[in-house]
Symmetry: C2
Subunit: 251 residues, 2 copies
């Protein structure tokens, strides 16, 4: 057990390019995950093993600007030196952008009040080779006006059963979306989802359905109607992982 007299509780903000990782969470098999790499590499600067708790379990190929982790350590490295020290032991896809010592009760996942995810689509006939790992490429023109109206209907508290992965754990499907928006900047269409929590694949399933609206394959009322049915089979495809970024975790 972490002893407050011996162990500090360290909170780190982590940015990572998830392209080459099998998601955040450590897995029983040998696939590289962000958590496993963090635990193995950070042990080198804290002098003993660390067990990392992450705010969100991002999937394989999903990225983060601001994942938050915490762990208890008896290591003596000054907190403000952690980001640079970590840079020398971590692969360049994983960067510690901030470090602070927090109260012993702080828990990266359970203490989180809300999270912000963004999803980017590259909406252009010929793809940009530099964006291929960080966007979903859709060559047909998306109607941002329709998608903006559709996305408004998910704000508030709803049962999101229709947008959860079929294989997800049987948790309470009710979530509150504080804000959600869609905008175009040049060839990039960006969705932003700010909510108190998200079901497994929920953002990617919402984006897949919004794209159907943007392409005129579903009406603007689709999200509202599908939410009401709670039927997963009515929603659109699961958008591919590489367009999704965990932007921020709020406490």
């Amino acid at each position: 057990m972490a002893d407050p007299l011996i162990h500090r509780n360290i909170k780190l903000t982590v940015a990572y390019d998830g392209t080459n990782y099998h998601g955040f969470q450590r897995q029983a098999n040998t696939a590289a995950t962000i958590q496993q790499v963090l635990e193995e590499r950070l042990a080198k600067i804290f002098g003993s093993g660390v067990t990392v708790t992450g705010a969100a379990r991002t999937d394989a190929g999903v990225h983060a600007y601001g994942q938050v982790i915490n762990f208890y350590t008896a290591g003596t490295i000054p907190t403000q030196k952690i980001p640079l020290a970590a840079k020398s032991v971590l692969p360049e896809e994983i960067v510690i952008t901030a470090a602070e010592e927090v109260d012993h009760n702080f828990h990266a996942r359970f203490s989180a009040k809300s999270k912000i995810y963004i999803y980017r689509i590259q909406n252009t006939l010929m793809p940009d080779p530099f964006a291929r790992k960080y966007t979903w490429h859709i060559p047909l023109v998306l109607d941002v006006e329709s998608m903006s109206r559709a996305i408004g209907s998910i704000k508030g508290t709803h049962d999101f059963s229709a947008f959860r992965a079929s294989g997800g754990a049987p948790v309470n499907p009710v979530r509150t979306i504080i804000d959600a928006a869609c905008r175009r900047e040049g060839n990039i269409v960006e969705f932003c989802f700010w909510g108190n929590g998200f079901l497994y694949h929920m953002v990617r399933n919402l984006v897949g359905t919004l794209v159907d609206v943007g392409l005129g394959r579903k009406p603007v009322s689709a999200l509202e109607n599908i939410l009401a049915t709670r039927e997963r089979k009515l929603a659109g495809v699961t958008a591919p992982p590489q367009g999704l970024f965990l932007k921020q975790v709020l406490y």
Copy 2:
């Protein structure tokens, strides 16, 4: 020989992520190059082998927004259909952004009047994991004001011997820089070089020296002085390839 009665001369604009390639030019060994991949894959849509001429021989790890190539073909695919057809046969790192049929005398390299290169530095303490393959990360603060003044001295016609790679071919070292500039946008410092031609490693050697100026290790007059000496050993390091992009070739 290409026969104007049988063969079209096709000019293509090509964007590519050079990260995983050993430069543009086909090599005798088995390393993958952009030219080799273009020739092998484009043959599939033109019905017979194509021999590609590129405007510039970008190095291993260097990128392009607007490389230009040309080749002669008896293939009958309509010109405007080439970009999408090429998308189905090319790896996603290489994208044909424009295609046109040009005069038989057009030669991607010899007809080029000038080229524009840009070089990007990520000037921030902790690196952005998403920019690592497309920028040079320099954590110490660069003085853009000093670099802007220094870069002005290379405009015009000069003997650039001091900034050519030591192993380069013995070509005429005189080149004309039409414009050159340096600016900061947030954490990104961007250099732009517009010239009638560039010696091997010239842009990367100029950037290495400019960075010495930006860090206060060399005076603002360094570029002017080093140019005059024609001594390669006085210039700075060769900036790494991943920050360099061939932006445009002008005809």
